[in-house]
């Protein structure tokens, strides 16, 4: 088959779906599956079969609306409605949709999230949701709309045409120049100019050259790369072929993690389909350029996301960073010139070739053109993925896209840039998201993880959590990384356990400064960020822990106690007494009110959870000695 045939067949297949009297899309990425999407899929499939209906049922990727999973989109043109997106479709909702909308004509708007239309850049949007007013989807253009396991869907939406134009009409230098003109900066976190990296690799005389797609996403709470690869693998593959052509590589690797089985499965399928169409392999589009891609499964070591460690890991060696220079573009995989690019960078390469560098440059800010993909997690109403133009403020991302903090709690901080990024507070909310202003705030852009914290989070504990992660994931090679990070962690453990000492804050600051300069790799050099940023924005919390043995957020177990307010405790209710695992709650013979025996209490918090909300008699206090004060007040 030649390209025209492939393309027209794909387009026919796509428009048959678009024009079908009924078409159901069900999002079955890993996040959807965790919410029960495979069960929803099974229900639809069985029910439709039973009804004898031959309705196309497409498994699509993730639209980023994780809070609404499982997500189902039903197109029924004759109903007069555009495609409608339904949220949290489980057994009851699925049956209802089949009965009322598919068999009947009631569109069940009460369980709908909104209608779906194709907006800017041909990306599906739900105009009813406020987030789509500020979102601009380039990387996520196809996510949740096409079947990631069917290359024809991708081709019908314009896929691989840009590659064809590149291979048949542009020389590699021109591609690099256009990427430079677009001002694309690497989405892995450091924000290095992609064109500069490519150009310096191309300049190297040594052959062969390699391209690596870094999909070793390991930040707690981050899932951008997983979603892109599960929902639209071909955007990344196309970007890789273009990058390979530009730098002069014939072989590419996608380094992802064992813990992403669906990514691996879908990538393998996508690569096979691309090979079958001649889009990968020898002499692509008859251009004389040959390129192939291999998927490498990492064993889940965070450090292997560092590019030199990653090249060692691919070579089958221990994943440990080495000193730079030489940089990977000079001496990378097997000592050969190698470019390492992030998943989203490569997907954006495809978009830039499609839309042209000038249009891309107009999106975002002057110094950081384009869009940024964020994985919103933590204390935010609408958890999920979003893509906004650079320059959007953190406030817009958290409150308009994410819908703000749930349960009437107050926003406290947001952790950006992964574990080695930083926790910035309220005063940084009006920062525009781009590489340079994040750095000024003490954080890094990172790969796009964003964890929102509310006033029930302790910032010292948060710093301890991230340092714990980093010390486990540190490779152990250099003295500052191995011992410095561990030392920071031990001090933070002491502070959260009430063993903090006068001078600890200064010790932390001094150590952090040494690590920033002294560590061998960027993991180590950024590891102090959680400590430095929490100290910068929430220093008083550290002081309260150390000087008053008090945890202002009432989180650190050793610094709090539980207390039952006698005036609120209802005599007859025994919820707390019955659920306390250590029998630490006693009933006063005379008043029948409950009291906690502090020396028996293990601070599990069960009593607080089970105390009926109309009483809310159980409270947490800090420091624990405050209990005595409250008890004496009572006496």
């Amino acid at each position: 088959m030649n390209w025209e045939e492939i393309k027209s067949r794909a387009e026919a297949k796509w428009s048959a779906l678009e024009e079908a009297p009924l078409h159901i899309r069900i999002g079955t990425p890993t996040c959807g599956r965790a919410a029960g999407a495979l069960e929803t899929l099974r229900i639809f499939r069985e029910r439709l079969q039973r009804e004898g209906l031959d309705v196309p049922l497409t498994e699509v990727g993730c639209m980023g609306l994780c809070f609404a999973e499982p997500l189902v989109i039903i197109s029924k043109p004759e109903s007069g409605f555009p495609p409608i997106c339904y949220k949290n479709v489980r057994f009851d909702e699925a049956q209802k949709l089949i009965n009322d909308f598919i068999l009947g004509d009631d569109p069940c708007l009460e369980i709908a999230l909104g209608t779906v239309e194709l907006g800017q850049d041909d990306a599906p949007v739900i105009p009813e949701l406020e987030r789509f007013e500020i979102e601009r989807r380039l990387v996520l253009k196809n996510c949740g709309w096409i079947d990631p396991e069917d290359i024809d869907h991708y081709i019908a939406r314009g896929g691989y045409s840009a590659l064809r134009d590149v291979l048949l009409g542009k020389d590699p230098e021109q591609v690099i120049a256009e990427i430079g003109q677009a001002g694309l900066r690497g989405r892995g976190g450091a924000g290095f100019l992609t064109s500069r990296k490519w150009a310096s690799c191309r300049r190297q005389k040594s052959e062969p050259k390699y391209l690596i797609c870094n999909a070793d996403e390991g930040d707690p709470g981050a899932f951008m790369d997983r979603v892109v690869l599960e929902s639209d693998p071909h955007s990344v593959i196309e970007g890789m072929i273009i990058a390979g052509y530009a730098i002069g590589a014939a072989k590419g690797f996608i380094y992802t993690r064992m813990e992403y089985p669906l990514v691996i499965e879908r990538l393998q399928k996508a690569l096979e389909q691309a090979r079958a169409y001649g889009l990968l392999g020898e002499d692509i589009f008859g251009s004389g350029f040959s390129f192939d891609i291999e998927v490498i499964r990492g064993a889940g070591a965070f450090i292997c996301g560092e590019s030199t460690a990653m090249t060692y890991s691919i070579e089958g060696k221990r994943g440990m960073p080495r000193v730079r220079p030489p940089r990977s573009v000079e001496r990378g995989l097997w000592g050969q010139p190698t470019v390492v690019n992030n998943v989203k960078t490569l997907a954006l390469v495809t978009r830039i070739m499609e839309m042209g560098p000038d249009e891309f440059r107009e999106i975002g800010t002057r110094s950081s053109p384009g869009t940024a993909v964020f994985a919103l997690a933590g204390k935010v109403k609408q958890i999920g993925l979003c893509e906004v133009p650079m320059g959007t403020t953190l406030r817009q991302v958290i409150f308009e896209v994410g819908g703000g903090v749930p349960e009437g709690k107050e926003f406290k901080a947001v952790q950006i840039g992964g574990p080695a990024g930083g926790c910035v507070g309220e005063e940084a909310l009006d920062l525009p998201v781009d590489f340079d202003s994040f750095r000024a705030a003490g954080a890094i852009m990172g790969s796009g993880g964003m964890i929102v914290l509310d006033n029930s989070n302790c910032m010292v504990e948060t710093a301890r959590f991230f340092l714990d992660f980093l010390s486990r994931e540190d490779c152990g090679k250099c003295s500052f990384g191995r011992l410095g990070i561990k030392q920071l962690l031990m001090i933070l453990e002491d502070i959260t356990a009430g063993r903090g000492k006068e001078g600890d804050i200064e010790l932390l600051e001094g150590l952090c400064e040494d690590l920033l300069q002294g560590c061998l790799c960027n993991l180590g050099r950024t590891a102090p960020n959680p400590v430095l940023t929490t100290l910068r924005y929430f220093r008083s919390e550290y002081e309260a822990h150390i000087r008053e043995r008090r945890c202002p957020a009432l989180v650190c177990r050793d610094l709090i106690a539980y207390f039952i307010l006698p005036e609120k405790c209802e005599k007859g209710c025994d919820h707390c007494v019955l659920t306390c695992p250590t029998e630490a709650i006693v009933t006063d013979e005379r008043t029948r009110k409950k009291r906690i025996l502090q020396d028996k209490c293990v601070k599990c918090g069960t009593c607080l959870e089970v105390c009926p909300p109309e009483y809310s008699a159980v409270i947490k206090v800090s420091p624990p000695e405050k209990v005595k004060e409250l008890e004496s007040r009572e006496a």
């Binding site: 070591a301 450090i303 221990r318 440990m320 080495r322 000193v323 030489p326 001496r331 010390s471 486990r472 994931e473 540190d474 490779c475 152990g476 090679k477 250099c478 003295s479 500052f480 191995r482 011992l483 410095g484 990070i485 561990k486 030392q487 031990m490 001090i491 002491d494 001078g503 010790l507 001094g510 150590l511 040494d514 300069q517 002294g518 560590c519 061998l520």
Partner: protein, 213 residues
């Protein structure tokens, strides 16, 4: 054609050095001391793990001397406050993690930790939290070589020399983070490995972790 030599200034001394040579070896060959624990001449790429050999290069700032090649006209200082600060901190961290049982140590007369402690006037730090005590078994199974992982400072010299110079490949790193250690394959006793007893690893080991009987 490029000249084979470059002229550099280290601590005010003008030195002619082979092009591409790392600052560390140029300084040492000219009698200028730079504390270091992991570097061995010939390593490519340099290991750079001990983070001790800091120097300040004018116009560049702090760099590790084992990784930075000399360039024409380079001006290097080995004794500035920021150099010493990082060196002392790195050494303090290593000391806080090292069993200071010096009087019973077979290497006490040529321990490089002690050497740099004296050079940098560093003591075992009191302000740092003590690291958890290591209790790995000491391997005395081999006829000529002993191995005490508890004293190991993870400089990686034995790993490199075994792999790249001797070719026996007896040692490598296992685990990671604070739990990283040097191990034989599957933790086998040294007598059951390919060790031929050449003791090259014990020669380069800066502390009392590897020593000959």
């Amino acid at each position: 054609m490029k000249r084979e030599y470059v002229d550099v200034t280290i601590d005010g001394r003008e030195i002619r050095a082979p092009r591409g040579e790392k600052i560390l070896w140029v300084a040492l060959e000219n009698g200028i001391e730079i504390p270091h624990l992991c570097a061995l001449k010939g390593q490519d790429p340099p290991w750079g793990g001990c983070r001790l050999c800091w120097v300040e290069v004018e116009g560049r700032g702090l760099v590790t001397a084992c990784t930075e090649p000399v360039r024409q006209g380079m001006v290097v200082h080995t004794d500035t406050p920021s150099v010493r600060r990082l060196q002392r901190r790195a050494l303090e961290l290593l000391l806080a993690d090292h069993p200071m049982d010096c009087k019973n140590c077979p290497k006490r007369d040529r321990c490089e930790l002690l050497k740099w402690m004296r050079f940098l006037k560093v003591k075992v730090p009191k302000d740092l939290r003590p690291f958890p005590e290591k209790r790995y078994p000491v391997d005395t199974s081999h006829p000529v070589l002993n191995f005490d992982p508890n004293k190991c400072i993870l400089c990686g010299r034995c790993v490199w020399i075994a792999k790249e110079v001797v070719g026996c490949g007896v040692f490598d790193f296992v685990w990671r983070g604070y739990d990283i250690r040097i191990s034989t394959f599957m933790g086998k006793p040294l007598k059951d490995t390919d060790c031929n007893g050449c003791l090259k690893c014990a020669e380069v080991c800066p502390v009392g972790a590897l020593w000959g009987k």
